[in-house]
Subunit: 255 residues, 2 copies
DNA sequence: TAAAACTATGAACGTCATACACAGTAGCTC
DNA sequence: GAGCTACTGTGTATGACGTTCATAGTTTTA
């Protein structure tokens, strides 16, 4: 057949395209249960707590039994990272801009609720069912805008990246980063104090001035919801401009 | 003293604020040499090649000697990630928009040249001299725009995130991702084929239609420079709108 | 009933980050 | 210059981890 093509093994597995075997004892597990166990551990103890041993213990199986279902730990992480993602909101008949805002916020909230996803997130393009569902819904929501498919995908990429950035910053500065917390840096304003102390005004003129003026004092400049909306609206404004441009082009073509 | 405050140890070290000791044998190494060695290894073999043992071997020292200079491997990675960053371009008297484009592209190119930075990049806010220098230059370039310091920082965060996203996508789809390459997925169009094969048109209507139409055929929709500019201009347009708004507010206040 | 196909197990290996005790070295104090 | 002190590099040891492999056990097929 023409488009016979071997998929990466974890992709085969994520999509349940494994050849089903009839002989031998019935498997006591399946990939979904293993992933769920791993996710439970990550939720409770962070990614560091997820080892083959700990996952296996949680599903009451010898460590090496997992390798019947997963080629490597890498693969397990990939599967986890996809199945930890909830279903996307449905576009309904929301205006595209509202849906994009909802979508991006949802995307970010996933990362805030499961900070380990920030580290587990494979930087390669999405191949799992859940993440692709998010992508599909976004493209649906952009249906009437006149953007072509490539542009829609680009929009999705950009918004995903923004969600990731924002979540990383909120999580990094707002709390939870063990490296900083150890040293007593508890929030944005402490972060600012650290910078103010360390920066030489001659080589860092703008930054050190800002810090000494106390930009981050009272968490202004980061962490709160306004900052998320700040960047989001930057992007949405840009997208809106693009859509408008396409619309006028379309009119011009037809007129 | 009022603002006596203990910094995280790797920050102290990155800024050379360690107490200098006069007693005992003179150290045969310093943090910079260690970081440089680790960076060399990462450049040659990727992050996976960087172990305490390999780094130590490269500087001709016993493995455990490194712990005189670095608290943990984590710390070493943090230091590496900062000192692998080159100096930022100087704003000169470029218009802010040109400089921001230059800055963001530079930011991204760093990640393309050293893909391991994508994995090493600490998701927490920057604390190293190099990254903060980039931040400072961006704030300088935004000097005459009327944005306040918090907004400038937000702009920097957003652009940094975009650079990271783009680099990750280019690197992930364009090549270099070992997971995909193994399975013969060499570029964007193969990625599209995989998706087309896997997606059920009923649950993924928009996406599967796009794939079957061959969005990614010929790398359209990803990877090439136009796609980078696409998102970048989205952001710059948004920023421009914000600056215009601030400017008119400023006039309104005065008039 | 025998073969075949598949599953789970336990032991073993190599790698890695890290802790610790020790030996050597250079400045400081007298 | 003697001896104390603080500091540096080494070697050994440990425990965790990912992964391989041979083996024993189990269910279906012939």
């Amino acid at each position: 057949m023409a488009h016979e093509r071997s998929l990466p093994p974890e992709v085969e597995r994520m999509w349940g395209r494994e050849p089903v075997s009839r002989r031998g004892p019935r498997p006591r597990l399946d990939l979904a249960r293993i992933a769920a166990a791993a996710i439970d551990i990550a939720d409770a103890e962070g990614l560091a707590g997820v080892s083959m041993a700990s996952v296996a213990a949680r599903v009451r199986v010898a460590t090496t039994a997992l390798y019947r279902y997963v080629g490597s730990k890498e693969e397990l992480l990939t599967v986890m990272a996809d199945s930890a993602v909830p279903l996307p909101p449905e576009p309904g008949d929301l205006p595209w801009r509202d849906y994009l805002a909802l979508w991006t916020r949802g995307n970010r909230d996933i990362l805030l609720e499961r900070p380990w996803l920030l580290s587990a997130a494979r930087l390669s393009p999405p191949l799992g069912p859940r993440r692709l569902l998010w992508l599909d819904r976004l493209m649906t929501a952009l249906g009437g805008t006149g953007l072509d498919d490539g542009e829609k995908i680009n929009v999705a990429t950009t918004l995903t990246g923004y969600a990731l950035t924002d979540a990383a910053v909120v999580h990094g500065v707002g709390g939870g980063d063990p490296r900083l917390e150890e040293a007593g840096v508890k929030g944005a304003s402490d972060y600012g104090d650290v910078l103010a102390e360390v920066l030489d005004p001659e080589t860092y003129p703008a930054l050190s001035a800002a810090m000494r003026a106390g930009v981050l004092r009272g968490a202004v400049g980061w962490v709160d919801d306004e900052d998320f909306l700040f960047g989001l609206n930057l992007l949405l404004d840009g997208i809106e401009a693009l859509i408008a441009r396409r619309a006028s082009e379309g009119r011009a073509d037809r007129g």
